[in-house]
Symmetry: D2
Subunit: 496 residues, 4 copies
């Protein structure tokens, strides 16, 4: 076997999967005008891994001599992580800041189950690790696209899975055990690009207690398995959309669908956790640990696009020398670079996972990186919109621009600086509109963990004993728990 071509990949998607989009059952996702956006965006993974220019970066030769995706290899060193950053940057640069997703999210889930399955096997004598390794090999050999199903729909956020009132399926669970496998029901929400994937990898989204043991389940399954239904996100564009009007939303439809499971059968060799509730939390934590590299890397790439749009709009409007504009562009530059610096630093100071031979980015740094990105996004769009002007809200559509009756008027009146064509100015205006969408805003603060999740992590990771030792020393307070960094310091102020 070998890498799939883009067309080979696309052919796999017409496999009987049950997908709904905007009120209709989609008979063949490869022919649907909106779902094709997702398919083609995911297919970019295959376009690039078949491109000799990028193949050395994106692929490895495995022990059988087959070319396999580097993203599916386990990362064992800081250098692997640095290379993975380059992979993610390439994916993101190629596709307007949002990395093509054939393996982008779920590879981190695969690493998470790799780590946790070893822990479970060690404690309970189970055999999940072998299942995971076989699955990894299967994915590599078949060059499959797979999605990660982590987030349950949750119902009342104040109640645990087994406490839910309306029904018991707000978290995905085992409803029956059979000799050859298990039957599961439930749903996972916000499952990026799942309609354009071959497989979905499922794991619990947070820690469980013993009562919740039926919910402690992890497995992988083809998305066309019987009992699975995918309901697409409401599309941002309608059929017949124009890329001029929708440069991003017309190119990238992540389609973070709802995927529901009604009595779906999972064979034994695809199960990675089955009732060992003590390890449910580990799954979520380890996924986050690995996924931070991917998440934080593409943000900086996305921001270069945002900052670039601001610089260009300033030039196109002829206001790039104005003091307030320079101030805003400086802020955007700092924001862009800071996310890149922090993302890289997290990898430079990567952490070795104890129960495996895998490494992942420094969690404190990675959380700060994500927080800085997400917390500042709305300020960035404010600055971008401020520079671009009210025309972002009021511009006519591409159809008006290309209508020969109105084009001369638009050409004449919506021009800006003489250095740029009206068409280019309008294209940039439309890009600014897409960047500031409600969809982007929400993605920014919720994808890869909310702002509150990052704050919680940072609080838990703080080195409080060090901080306290420093303050006590300065205040001349005796520290009962001497801290190694401060214990041996000479007296200050000195007696001289």
């Amino acid at each position: 076997m070998a890498l799939k071509t883009p067309q080979q990949f696309l052919d796999t998607l017409n496999d009987g999967r049950v997908v709904y989009c905007d009120g209709e059952r989609v008979p063949d996702v490869t022919k649907h005008p909106i779902l094709k956006i997702t398919n083609n965006w995911v297919a970019m993974d295959y376009v690039m891994s078949n491109d000799p220019k990028y193949q050395d970066l994106l692929t490895d030769i495995d022990e059988d001599g087959d070319r396999v995706a580097f993203a599916l290899q386990p990362q064992r060193t800081r250098e692997d992580l640095l290379r993975l950053r380059e992979v993610v940057k390439l994916w993101a640069r190629a596709t307007f800041g949002k990395p093509s997703g054939a393996k982008f999210v779920a590879k981190d889930g695969l690493n998470a189950v790799t780590v946790v399955s070893r822990r479970v096997d060690k404690k309970f004598g189970t055999n999940y690790a072998a299942n995971v390794e076989a699955y990894r090999k299967y994915l590599q050999k078949n060059d499959l696209a797979f999605a990660m199903g982590l987030t349950d729909v949750k119902g009342d956020r104040g109640l645990r899975p087994s406490q839910q009132v309306q029904h018991k399926d707000f978290y995905l669970r085992i409803v029956e055990e059979r000799p050859d496998g298990i039957i599961v029901s439930g749903a996972k929400a916000h499952i990026s690009q799942v309609t354009a994937c071959n497989e979905v990898l499922i794991a619990p989204c947070h820690a469980m207690k013993e009562d919740d043991k039926d919910y402690a389940v992890a497995f992988a399954i083809p998305v066309n398995a019987k009992g699975i239904t995918m309901i697409s996100t409401q599309p941002e564009v309608a059929p017949g959309y124009s890329l001029f009007d929708h440069p991003i939303t017309g190119s990238v439809f992540i389609n973070d669908a709802l995927i529901t499971f009604e009595n779906v059968f999972i064979p034994n060799d695809r199960i990675f956790l089955k009732g060992e509730w003590e390890f449910a939390g580990d799954m979520a934590v380890m996924f986050a640990n690995f996924h931070r590299l991917s998440a934080e890397t593409y943000k900086a790439v996305e921001l270069e696009l945002v900052t670039g749009a601001a610089v260009l709009m300033a030039e196109y409007n002829g206001i790039e020398k104005k003091a307030h504009v320079r101030e805003k562009l400086t802020w955007l530059t700092m924001y862009t670079e800071m996310v890149e610096i922090l993302g890289k630093a997290a990898v430079e100071q990567s952490v070795k996972e104890e129960d495996s031979d895998l490494v992942y980015p420094n969690p404190m740094i990675a959380n700060i990186c994500k927080y800085q990105f997400a917390d500042n996004w709305h300020t960035a769009t404010k600055y971008l919109q401020d520079i671009a002007g009210g025309i972002v809200a009021t511009a006519p559509s591409a159809k008006d621009f290309f209508n020969p009756e109105t084009r001369p008027l638009i050409e004449k009146y919506l021009g800006g600086s003489a250095r740029v064509s009206t068409e280019d100015r309008l294209r940039m205006i439309k890009l600014v509109k897409d960047i500031g969408s409600s969809y982007e805003d929400v993605l920014t603060i919720h994808a890869e963990g909310s702002l509150e999740a990052q704050k919680l992590s940072i609080m838990l990771l703080g080195d409080y004993e060090r901080y306290k030792a420093a303050a006590m020393r300065a205040a001349q307070i005796k520290n009962k728990k001497e801290h190694p960094l401060f214990a041996d310091l000479p007296k200050f102020p000195p007696k001289l």
Copy 2:
């Protein structure tokens, strides 16, 4: 004559006007699926002024015994302004925070030309004030809807009107004077609801120099006048849209169109400024002075909706007791109330215009109010989206919800707290999505003057002599320009 009914008003709109929308010439705006949104929203003015519950607030009986819109009466006292605030609030509450616009914007332009025409007549012996008064009467007697055309398209923002390079029409101008009137060409951008109005009132958007005297022109004209073309803003919704998915964008389409003038004839009695370039700036300033009441009043009403959505999403998700949620709701409450308090204070401390018998809100307070509203908007949407959750980005469409095949799955899995139906939760999620749109963001910071414009006004209005006197007194520095508030104060510290 009397007030128009909603239907009478709508009938006036099919008058041969030249309107384009999304690439097509619209033969009759009253039949266009998207432009009808604008028409019906504007018609709410007529719905309410014909409603006995609101008629006392919204209308007056004029000297002829006719019932006329209060909004078209000149405001002469603080009490008039307080009543006008109630009018604007009613308009805004009825239409989801965006006041129905039959007179909402242009009434402030009418007051501006009222003031400035008197100044011009006084200096040059012209007769513009009479034209304005006749026009005001005409509007009142016919209960017309009219739009305000202030903002020129501007071309290169670094060049004055007469300096523009590509062509000379980046600002609307007089191209020919005739005995019976003038011929004008050019364009105005972002002209709210103009496609659903009867008339448009045109004035310069900033100060001019002598070279620019052809651009110093103000007048009013029916929008179906020969030579006028209106090109609609790209719609936010497509035909067949659902109010469930688009509760605001499906109800309010302000349609801030581009309106172009190709050799349009303006008769003498409709001209309010014609070459008196020294007064061009006054037009823009006075419009802003009057319009601040309208602008700042509806913002607070819009914010109650935003804050309400946040409170409800917190409850629907079952997280309203969480500390970070309470913190955000408190911030939203403060933001909402502060805009209301500042808007009201601006009216309480209203200013008498010297060259007329009109009053307008205190400019310092009104500018601060607008700035606080606009500068904090993106933080507000961030908090709202944070509370609402990622589902704002990923929810399926109304068609999926109402599709009997998928409805049971959505009902089951997208429920939140048991206290609320899935349908209500989804409706609120869609409202949150609409609130955070790129369109809303841009409207917030650019409509009624940009953030930089407010900062400039605040800087110019600062009472620096008072501030400096206070600091010099404390620093024991002799103040050569004694300030009345400080000159007589007893020595401090005292000699006792």
Copy 3:
């Protein structure tokens, strides 16, 4: 009797009171080099009320024909509150932003006990209201300075008064009841200007439960009563200080002392609450309600000084035209004016207290005002320091400036713009240093209630039913609790 002269007032302070300052018992506060700063600052109240220029504003003629302080009159109308604002502004302007305190704080406590004593009498048939009225009359007739003792020292903030572990006196309490009065012990912290007052008025600082009834006590007592000890705040300046170096800290020493009570006897006619624990919370709340006028009014006066210092430093350094400086000055202007506008609006929308004939500022507005002031202070000092330059940290002392050996060098080298003398520039630099002190920072965020207290109030005062009604209407959700502002609105979008 009549108003006291400043000297008559100062003479009353040598009355045997037990005061400690910087490690020493002070035999006579009127002779102490640092405590005199407090005395003279408080005496400014007497300087001004004896000044014919201000007497009409500051005083009234009572029913006996005596001239009494207006501040001690009960405020019954909005106009009274507006006058009180003028009084506070005058006090604050005269004394560098910090109102001279003979009655400044405690008058609000007097109003609080006025209200609450009536409530207690009504419920329990007690006779406290008469005690309060007699005390008010006594203060008026003798023109006394009095301090407000509200804040207990609190010990562990997580425990109620009766739960405290180390001892039971962390909150002031009744230790014995006698026929002629009570014996109290405990302490109150941060008691502004108490060392320069004649009397102190004591009330509980928050709500109590039944277990805490001994702590539900309010009374007034001369500060030289047996058993009272006052321990001064550590002074900011040392004897021999220079006003040049310390323009504010050398003129105003609020001396928020610790006042301790060791078995102090309180006679019956000075008791305003004695064990009626249900009303302890009312005392604190009503004090806050009244005190907000005082607190919010002087802040805006203080800010004019801060902003003035920034404007002057910009001019003295020759940088007032720089874009970033203009931006910062604009921000400071907005901050200054916003606090003034909000403070005034709170009074314009004042609230009638139900159980008395008193009025107080609108609590929502007053809390927002205080929050905006306090939350932005550190940004204001950052901007001020940024404009003033590093010299604020590194300037030599006044003694160097006035030393003939070094003066020529300082004159020569520390000059700025040629428009200003080096001396004036240095004076302003020293003022900037005083404004940014740790003391000022802490005063800003803690005096008159912390930021968290304001947030809590704002959260409690939010009009959530209105907000929710607005959002539900827009989302087309049926509101079971119809809201009056929304119930009658016409359907939108309309069927037309």
Copy 4:
């Protein structure tokens, strides 16, 4: 020769230098009660480099077998910079966050003149590089303390050196050239620890034009040279101060003095620039490049102390579990760690200087690091003060605490949580007061370059072509200047 002992170093300071402090000429700085704070703080460099525990880190053996300070060695590799960070951290941890300054600042000036002298020699055939090398050797062999004199006093900030009006010495300049050297006059401001140093290194603070060539001068000279006068910063503490009350200000007095030059002779072999005005700007830029490592490294150490104080005050007050306190501690943790991460990343991505064999931190990262530190400081002190409480402003002095008459009252009433002694709580309160001082605030935003300087650097360093290329690709705009990162990317969306 060898390293000096602390006592040997202190002995060198009584050398006839002309120092004024608080109005008096200081005959011997080693005996002055306040200047001793500076001396002893600087002497900590000697304490530690003589301490076997730290000697390996702090010193190297030179080619002669002498032990010399590592800080005076040229840094040639990333590893050297990482070691230098450890040196600076040790210095900073030992002395409460402010690195002892015998070589801390001026070493970076030495590197700057090392680089620039080579450039000048190369262009003009001068021999400055040899002078610099000889001077470096002299400093090493004698283990001297030296200060950096960069910032001129500047007069009117809007005028260049030669344009100044009042006099021509607002920037230090050559007033005479002699065969054996030059005569200079002028002054440098904010010269940290200069009164406790042996030497001062002088360089221009910004770029010059040809008219300003007399101001393009760099040299080194002993501070006791004839004609030099140092005027100390006004001290923060008075003689007899207590470390309890002033834990930081009583331990560290940086004494950023004014140093004036009246016709001071500089011998030829100590001159590093003399009129080559084209290189004046390079001096300032290169100093900044090198100094960033020092500056950014100690900030993170200082912040651990600040955050530690906040954590401890929360515990001491019993409020560490409150939601708002946790939120603030989390913010402080992120702030502390982010400065550390950015500082380290700047070194990890260090830059090779072209005209020498030296390396320095990445300027973009280092500027962002400094900006983040300085811009957030005031928020940090606000949070710290918020947590610590009003007592920071109102606590009595150490003398009261240690006075047996008042100690029992203070012990009793100023206790907090039962887990901590009143003494420790008071010590921490005093530390918080010191941290929030005006001095600290100003130091934060002005030392090592102002916020505006960092913004300017970031703006200049932005990779705008990359940003623009990203935006143009997404907007489908043809980029005439193809960018290497984007030029080869496959078309997106793809044709599949």
